[in-house]
């Protein structure tokens, strides 16, 4: 009989060939874990190629999940458990494991041929190189084939394909995950393919039963549900959360959405996600390029719709001129930049947050606009809503920064109450705003101009990218007018500082060091800070959700610490920003490896400075 061991948190990484269904197995495990009530963060890790050669290290696809009985913040620095479906999966991951970790392998896959493909000279399962780990050799393929024998209409190839569900079964047993979540999902997913459904269910149960009945796996772990704030949760990745945020903004504002986009990794998933949402009146158009996509969104905005476009770095370059036009037109529009590792084509599937300066300054002339950044996968929902709110309230294009990590990673999301969502009111102009006249650039108290849409009688007007006369919007080359308009555009954006939440500090008495972050460094920074505090260190942290303007109290907060450390996955862009803005000697921790930050790295950086 197996023992049961209690654990606070576990990091599992399940890896195999890209054809092995690792994302599916990982995703299902995450879903069951979520429903079970653990807090969790996931991180998929795909190969760059569409189909890298089977069995090679380059072709390995992995899924990491960190789950715990308390709230957690990152997908975990290093796995405690590695499931390796073939030698390549072992090879590409074993170096990250700490001594004493558990490795579960699909023994059947450790054939001579596969070992060679993975670049192994000898079989690591037998040459003693894994002695520091707890290795479990499970003949997953053959057990799956056996479990599905006799199911009519299932070839042995189909059967072998179900081995990911066998592995999922094993893991489900090891961590006491509820079976029904996965069973129901299999039943729905394969409803139209009877034999495959039966085979997958059989494989899943076989894996689970294998754990239950054999002595090979001797320990079962218990990770209790986490005491998260009350409410209804679901597991979301950043892409889904962004899509939901946009749809929520569309529904609550009454603005139909036009989402115009050109495919690009890692933003394409958002295109796919929204293309399915016709039920919500979302119109999606795949443009001929990013320039067209931005113009289409802007054209829709002129028509009184919620114009949204999404892309990644290279596409942002191309949209720059159109974003500048939107700044001049002062029309609401949301531009989503799912950042990836650059420059140029860079490493398209890898995360990096190095487009901050571009978001702020990547257009000619003085063309300021609000910049919002998502911090966690679930936060993408709020960030998207906030981007729309600012765009509509201030009649301005807004850049929403996300990144490859946030887009693909998932975590539990406390589903908000519809009634408590921020109110977004288009406030379309309905009539004259100055006696009997309509002045398209007459501003309100926010310095926002009226949004008068075609079809509205009497408000017809023509606007363009040429400098406009204050008030009337007519073309003007008058020197003072240009100065005034330039200031007004800037002040409008600066004024938003009064309309956003102040910078909140996670302070601890005695802390003299503040760690400041933005974007997806949220999780690692919080986790790193926690670790330091667990070791008795005094440290504070704060996170910027708005990069332009910065919250009104930012300077005050930063100045109240002796040292400020800015942590970001670029060469120090935010740190330059706060240095310029507040003249404080912010220090910089940067990472540029096309990988998310690790809590351990933040911990290390903090400890170095205490």
């Amino acid at each position: 009989m197996s023992r049961t061991v209690d654990k606070d948190r576990v990091v599992i990484r399940i890896a195999g060939d890209s054809g092995d269904g690792m994302q599916l197995a990982g995703g299902r495990f995450a879903e069951a874990t979520a429903v079970f009530g653990n807090d969790l963060v996931t991180a998929p890790d795909y190969p760059a190629e569409v189909r890298a050669p089977t069995g090679t290290v380059r072709g390995v696809s992995a899924f990491q999940i960190h789950f715990a009985s308390r709230d957690i913040l990152t997908p975990g620095d290093t796995p405690n458990v590695l499931v390796a479906m073939n030698p390549a999966a072992l090879k590409s991951n074993v170096d990250t494991l700490e001594s004493g970790s558990t490795i579960v392998v699909n023994d059947d896959a450790f054939t001579k041929r596969n070992l060679v493909k993975a670049g192994y000279d000898s079989n690591p399962l037998e040459d003693g190189s894994l002695t520091e780990f707890q290795v479990h050799r499970l003949p997953m393929t053959s057990m799956t084939v056996r479990a599905t024998e006799g199911i009519e209409g299932v070839s042995s190839r189909d059967a072998a394909r179900a081995k990911n569900l066998f592995a999922l079964g094993v893991l489900s047993w090891m961590y006491g995950r509820p079976l029904p979540v996965t069973e129901e999902w299999i039943e729905q997913k394969f409803a139209k393919h009877g034999p495959i459904l039966t085979a997958n269910l059989a494989a899943f149960h076989a894996g689970y039963n294998f754990g239950e009945t054999t002595e090979l796996l001797d320990v079962q772990y218990r990770v209790k549900p986490a005491a998260l704030p009350a409410g209804t949760y679901r597991n979301v990745d950043g892409t889904t959360a962004t899509a939901l945020g946009l749809i929520a903004a569309s529904v609550t504002s009454g603005l139909p959405m036009l989402f115009a986009s050109y495919p690009i990794t890692p933003a394409s998933e958002l295109l796919h996600e929204l293309a399915r949402q016709r039920r919500f009146g979302v119109r999606v158009i795949q443009a001929e390029d990013e320039i067209a996509a931005a113009n289409m969104a802007l054209g829709a905005a002129f028509g009184g719709q919620l114009g949204v476009t999404a892309t990644s770095g290279p596409g942002m370059d191309l949209k720059a001129e159109t974003i500048g036009l939107a700044v001049a037109l002062e029309l609401p529009m949301v531009i989503i930049d799912v950042q990836r590792a650059g420059p140029s084509t860079g490493m398209p599937t890898k995360p990096e947050s190095s487009d901050l300066m571009m978001a702020l300054y990547g257009r000619h002339g003085e063309s300021p606009l609000p910049v919002v950044a998502a911090a966690t996968p679930a936060h993408c929902f709020d960030a998207a809503l906030e981007a729309v709110r600012l765009a509509v309230d201030y009649r301005t294009p807004v850049i929403l920064l996300s990144d490859a990590f946030l887009a693909n990673s998932s975590e539990p999301w406390l589903i908000p109450n519809i009634d408590e969502l921020p109110r977004i009111d288009p406030r379309f102009a309905q009539g004259p705003n100055l006696d009997d006249d309509f002045l398209p650039y007459l501003r309100d108290e926010r310095l926002a101009r009226p949004w008068a849409i075609p079809g509205t009688i009497g408000l017809g007007h023509r606007i363009g990218g040429l400098e406009k006369e204050d008030g009337t919007g007519n073309i003007s080359y008058e020197p003072e007018n240009h100065a005034r308009m330039t200031s007004l555009r800037a002040e409008k954006v600066e004024g938003i500082a009064q309309d956003i939440a102040p910078l909140e500090v996670d302070h601890e008495d005695g802390a003299e060091l503040l760690v400041l972050g933005w974007g997806s460094s949220y999780g690692p920074i919080k986790a790193g800070v926690r670790r330091v505090r667990d070791r008795g260190g005094k440290v504070a942290c704060a996170h910027l959700f708005h990069l332009n303007p910065l919250p009104a109290n930012t300077g005050e907060v930063l100045r109240s610490y002796r040292r400020v450390l800015v942590a970001e996955t670029n060469m120090g862009q935010l740190s330059r920003l706060v240095r310029a803005e507040f003249l404080i000697g912010a220090e910089s921790f940067t990472k540029l490896e096309g990988e998310p930050m690790l809590a351990a790295e933040i911990e290390h950086e903090i400890l170095e400075r205490l």
Binding site: E31, V35, F36, F280, A287, N295, G303, P426, I457
Partner: protein, 352 residues
């Protein structure tokens, strides 16, 4: 969506409001800033005069323009309008037309704007058959930037950017549009108000993307490029009027005509030589675009008798049409309950 807007469902470019409008209703009154004698004036006047025919009030009409002399057009129309950035009007128009099918959406630009920097948006809008009318004011030169070669400038043309003569063959804009799959392709001339109006009318009636090349004179940088088409003395000899269902013939007494040649091209002949019965009868609605393409190659840069009129006008699916009703209905009916359900989709769990 908004108070004061008309019914969204009446389809692009057509309407039948009881009120009638006049040319003045479509003139913004803003002082026109083209050079004296510029062909753009004539086009503006013709458009303003034609628009009341749509039966749509000015606020249901939108002009989206690019940068260039022609791009200034937007400012002079008493409609809604955007003077966008260089070359992108078809994309702006696509975004607007697809989301507001109740509007009549016009995209307008010069030959540089639409065929040089904006060439890609143009061909894609035509391919997609977006419900927009695209007017290309072709003066075979860059006017606003003071006289560089454009993609329609003749081979060998000396301009500021080609002091030794252009080394490029110009585009045949109609051929390009046909190659892109345009469902409506026409050509007309700035100085021929009646013809211009006919073509505008045909374009407005066409469901889907209409491509109209307007030969436009730039007296400053390329004067009289099309004079043979409009000068009394030469007009008859150079204008070949295409009229659907009519044999293609021209000349003061209709003494010349167009026939099919065995190699697939079309050619000009003396009617007397071939006999009336052999003349091509123009079929603008022919499903296959090959004949229209052949006609487009009769002349390049008005060096020979040049066809004007509607080369092609066929009906095919308009982008967005099939999904329009569904999306409109979805947006109108969807509310907090559906949103709540969407947010709760998939596996959820509750923490108490």
């Amino acid at each position: 969506m908004a108070v004061n807007t008309h019914n969204h469902m009446s389809g692009n470019g057509s309407g039948s409001d009881a009120a009638t409008f006049t040319k003045q209703d479509f003139a913004s009154g803003e002082e026109t800033r083209w050079c004296p004698g510029c062909g753009d004036y004539a086009v503006l006047a013709a458009v303003q005069e034609f628009l009341p025919e749509l039966g749509l009030p000015p606020e249901r009409v939108v002009f989206l323009t690019g940068i260039g002399c022609a791009g200034r057009f937007a400012y002079y129309m008493n409609t809604y309008g955007i003077h966008g950035i260089h070359g992108r009007a078809p994309a702006l128009a696509t975004g607007l037309a697809i989301s507001r099918p109740d509007l009549s959406v016009w995209a307008l630009g010069g030959d540089g704007d639409m065929l040089s920097i904006g060439g890609n948006h143009l061909i894609h809008a035509l391919r997609r058959n977006m419900p927009i009318k695209i007017l290309v004011l072709n003066n075979q030169v860059y006017g606003l930037t003071k006289g560089q070669a454009s993609p329609t400038s003749a081979f060998g043309k000396v301009t500021k950017s080609t002091p030794f003569g252009s080394e490029d063959q110009p585009f045949n804009p109609l051929a390009l549009a046909l190659g892109a799959g345009a469902s409506f392709v026409a050509r007309t001339v700035d100085r021929d108000r009646r013809h211009l109006t006919q073509v505008l009318r045909a374009a407005a009636e066409h469901p889907g993307a209409a491509f109209i090349e307007i030969y436009q004179n730039c007296p400053i940088f390329n004067d009289e490029a099309y004079a043979v088409l409009t000068d009394k003395d030469t007009k008859d000899a150079f204008q070949i009027r295409l009229e659907h269902g009519q044999p293609i013939r021209f000349g003061a007494d209709g003494e010349r005509g167009v026939v099919q040649r065995p190699d697939g091209s079309v050619a000009i002949v003396e009617v007397a030589d071939v006999g009336e019965q052999d003349l091509l009868v123009h079929d603008a609605h022919c499903a296959d675009p090959s004949r229209a393409f052949a006609l487009a190659h009769l002349s390049q840069n008005v060096s020979a008798p040049t066809p004007v009129g509607v080369f092609r006008s066929v009906v095919r699916p308009v982008h967005g049409e099939s999904s329009q009703a569904e999306l409109q209905a979805a947006h109108e009916t969807v509310g907090p309950a559906e949103l709540d359900a969407l947010l709760h989709a998939g596996a959820t769990w509750t923490v108490n």
